[in-house]
Amino acid sequence: MVIRNGILSTVRSRGRTILFALLIFLLTLSLSLGLGLWSYCAQTLAAMDATYTSIALVEYKGENYPDQYASDETARMAFAQLGDYSQVPGVELWEPTQWGMVLADGYRRPDGTIPYENRMVVSVFQLSEVFAFQECPAQLEDLPEEYLILSDDRCSVHIHAGVWEDIPYYTYMPPETPAAYVTEQMDGTVTLVDEEQNLSMELNWLKNQEGFFRRDTYIETDPETGKLTAIDSLVNFRLALDHYQGIIGENLYSYDGTSGVLVEVHPGESGFVAEKGKRYLIHGERMDGGTSAQAVVVREFYEGCEQSPWVSFDRYDDPLFTDSLFSQYAKKYDLGNNYIQEEASDNIPALEPFQQGTLYLKEGRYPQAGETGVCTVTQDIAQQLDLELGDELPVSVMQSAQTDPFALEETGDSRTWTVVGIVNQSKGYEGHLWVSRQDALPHAPLFGYLFGRAVLDNDEAVEAVEQMAAMAPDGVEITLYDQGYATAAQPLQAMEATAQGVTFASLAGSFAVLCLFAFLFVGRQQQAVDVMVSLGTPKRKIWLWLLSGVTVVAGVAVLAGMVVSAISMQLLIWLALQGAQALYAADQRYSNGALGTTKEAELPQQVPLWPAWVAAVIVFLLALVLCALFTRVAQRKNTLNRGKSRVRAPRSGTSTAGKGAVRFALLSARRGGWRSVVVPVVTLVLSGFLGFLMVTALGWGQQRDTLYEDTTITGQFTSVNGRQYTGLMLEDPWRLWDSGLLSSMQVYDSTHFWIPDEMPDFPNTTFGNKLWSEWVSKQPELIFLNGLEISPKFAYGQVPAITWLEGWDESFLEDPGYYNTPQSTPLPCIASQTWMEEQGIGLGDDININVQKGGTITVFPVGSYALGGTDKSIYVPLSRLCLPPWQAENPQQSAAPWEYFPGCRFTLQSSYDLEQCREYLAQEGYSVPGDLNGSRIVVVLNDYAFTQTVEALGRYITLSQILFPVLFLLMGVMGFVVSWLMVNSRRMEFAIMRGLGASPKRVFGSFFLEQMGLCLTGCVVSGVILGIWSGQPVVWLTSAGFALFYLAGCALAVRAVGKAKVFTLLTHAD
């Protein structure tokens, strides 16, 4: 009965019941959807976090980058300086590069993967001399009686048959022939033709008589005046010993291991001279002799080796074949050619080739961290050694030499690993096996440029990489590979943040609405409580009476909310996801943050339903708890207890301050006690909260604007993997300038140079040319560029501080004034102090250099830098070679002088142009890094950190744009409700005033002014605090907006109370 009456008395106030049931339904629904979306995003992000692996590669961009087996001392020095990245927040695992070499019986590396393919240690016999024409310098006064001088496509012939001056020299038969000319056939036969004399004479005999010359011109610098002079010289073609031809006897080592076959033996620089009938054991290098026979150049074992690379022998049982440097090297090559590379890691799937999908497990598993005695091998090892999972693989541990990773020596150590996994076969990864870090082989010297790899927390990857980069020594580059996690996670993270906002807003809204619900439906039931108390109703039954009605109302509403949210959640989450993807999906094309492969995120199709019932339970329990609290209030306030409260007389006694409505408002505000404190506190908190939100959102907006204004986005052309900026082959990088989006472009080109006296003499043979090329390639570079940042030495790090000659700065590199200047014009340059000290020159001093592609030039340093190492490069203005399009008068002036530019970087005019730039690049067909199917022109924009920050700020801003109006409305409604309650609690005073004949205006003024004063006090305080804290005058807008809501509530409440019958109020019992 009690319950029935309680329910009936509640639901009979229909309007109020429907309104609150609807509000509770909506709040349950929004809480459920907020929770559902939150849990969906969290669950999906957790699944993605488990699926995606972010790693950072730490590499040194050394001279021979990306040669993974280079022995580079500067790289080793930098490696030694490397910090402990395992301490960087966000780094889950840091593993410096650690690999070793092992040998397994029966394993042969496949063709093309062995390091000593060109080395030969063979015995040769039956050697015979082979002669060929060679070029020798000659003087004009050395000319014999009969001769031919060739000069480009003209020649002069002086023979007994006559003299022909400056006649054409054809290497092919022209369609129309002049009267006299010389022609060279494909087989090298040179013929003089004079049709007038009806003469056709073969001239090859001139070569045998050393009468065949070519005119040559070179530039020489006068050492005293420094002037350049073109010197004419002659080159004489003479018949000389070119090589020996013989037969391979015992083959200690060669790629194919054949013997009994013809071989050309080129003496090279070795001084090898074969005596007829002798047998020789030689160490050399295979070369292309231009014939079908094998060809070998005799070469020293290593630079400076005292042991001759050739030796004669009589018998094949000579100890030379078993115990000599020859046999040792043959063995070394044999061993080195069949190495198996062992790599140790505690997270093998996160090693770059696995993380990037190049390698993957075909069978079995990877060795786990701490696991010993097991390994995973590549398929070629498994196939060659006929290994299956569970089989044992015995190996001998080898030790690499300091300078050559493949120069292996036995360590005497051996291991036996059980094969637990087999990975696919991929080019470049033949003969590899992986073990856990626990099973790592003794540390080998560092080869190549990969210093290590860090496994990162996906969500902290960017920050971790930034911190790692800050710790890195010069020349070390950190590259993040996140498999596209950031791009895939961004919409979900944004959605999760929104869902959290919706959830907390719904909880706050629920609390506010349920407070009001409890107050109205329970707290104000004092009369009923009085009646029940007076009738001796037990406390428990009073509780039941009060709670039964609200339980039904709240129960029905939350149940409806739960059902509707469960039904609609799938659809709504899908819609939210679509919206978030449209809003937040970051464009990462061409970004340095999107290097490598990208995984497709699989979004779960099923949406959990637990948030529906959890939300329902939360709202329902909250309603019950608040109603229970208000039940206590209703009982405590019942009229039977009235008069127990203590009141103090006002300290100031009777007041005469103010007049009319203002006087009453002032007195009420001053003496209102908790009521006069609640209003300013509530308005201070709520308007302050809104102001804080607005200031924060504005701060985000300003941060984003500042970021856009202050950020310079650069980019560069790279290798396909996006990591190599230099040593490329860019035919026409200037095309990018046509986008109109760039503020600058920097390119470089380079050639080698040397000091004129430094070049040694090289024999004028094929091998001599090869040696010359090798020597030149080791000389320092003369780099033509229009900005130091693109320099191959500085492209991966910082440009060092330059000391300038007075009046000079870096802008000279962009000066177009050096274009088409005479060769003799001295060029300003930037050089390293080390090199300048070596040459004994200072800033402003001229020095002549011979340039690989351009004769002799004079340079004078105008800037110098101090850099560790032995950098001897010289930097000169690009305009000496070509002009950028904005300085050129025609496209020819911008063309790459030597076919390609090896590097190019550029700067966007504005970071606002970033998206437009991406579009342009895509439209023009530039490839993104990692796109092996695209064009070979790959462009990378260095925007990752910028884009991440901008996207994050954008997310917050959008979130605040969505949530702020909702929260503003919610806070406003709360203010409205508070003011309504405040005024309604004063109905009796209102009635007394009216009863005493106060005018409606005065009554309105009395209450409104009081509430306005209290409300504005809170708003002003919050405005002042936030204004001072943030310096944003706009916070006053939120305070004013909130005050409007509050005062509107107050005004409406006063009007509503005004409509009540004064007489009813006044004559009411209480």
Partner: protein, 221 residues
């Protein structure tokens, strides 16, 4: 012709479930210098009659006349402010104003300066038998009898000659009731007030100069 007059007054109102005829064709006249007691059982229409006399509402039929002018022709606030003073059963004092301020309030409504109103309030409080010490206290600090005296003082402060009292002794003990009634009686007899008391207390009613009885909204002769 009395100070106050009811001419064929009826008052009907609509509740959620029914139409209630609270007063039916009441005709009566009230003069100054006399105490009237309106008696009747609960629901007979006593309080409704008082509210019409107090100008809190208008009759649905007939007229309430004050000095021959129908209340329907007046501004009710002005009528309440200038013509009638009402003492309610539950005193109806402003809880956040001191006794003195409560008494001053109607005077201020009529434009009296605070200073003057304050002096007058002191006199009135003294007149209803309260000590000066209560002036600075809040009404909730006083006993029921004291609060009723304050309500009377406030009514006197309105400076009208018509005083309406709704169960003025309803919440008081006998001693206090008698004191209050004697004050009202003195106001009528000594100062010429027209005092109309609505009560169901027959003993109190017997002390009035005239008794009007209501039954089911009708005047009983």
């Amino acid at each position: 012709m009395g100070v106050l007059e009811l001419r064929d007054v009826s008052y009907t109102y609509q509740t959620q479930y029914q139409k209630v005829e609270a007063l039916r064709n009441i005709t009566a006249s009230f003069d100054g210098g006399r105490v009237y007691a309106v008696v009747g059982k609960s629901g007979s229409g006593k309080t409704t009659l008082l509210s019409l006399l107090a100008g809190l509402d208008l009759p649905t039929e007939g007229e309430v006349l004050c000095h021959d002018v129908a209340t329907s022709q007046m501004k009710l606030e002005q009528y309440r402010r200038e013509q009638v003073a009402v003492i309610y059963q539950n005193f109806r004092l402003f809880p956040l104003l001191t006794v003195e301020e409560n008494v001053m309030y109607p005077m201020e409504l009529r434009g009296t300066s605070p200073k003057e109103a304050r002096e007058k309030a002191k006199i009135l409080v003294e007149r209803v038998g309260l000590p000066e010490t209560v002036l600075g206290r809040y009404p909730t600090m006083l006993s029921g009898g004291e609060q009723q005296r304050v309500a009377i003082a406030r009514a006197l402060g309105m400076d009208t000659k018509i005083l309406l009292a709704d169960e003025p002794t309803g919440n008081l003990d006998t001693a206090n009731s008698e004191n209050i009634f004697s004050i009202l009686q003195s106001l009528a007899h000594d100062d010429g007030y027209c005092v109309i008391i609505v009560t169901h207390d027959r003993t109190l009613a017997q002390k009035a100069d005239d008794i009007l009885e209501l039954k089911d909204g009708r005047m009983v002769e």
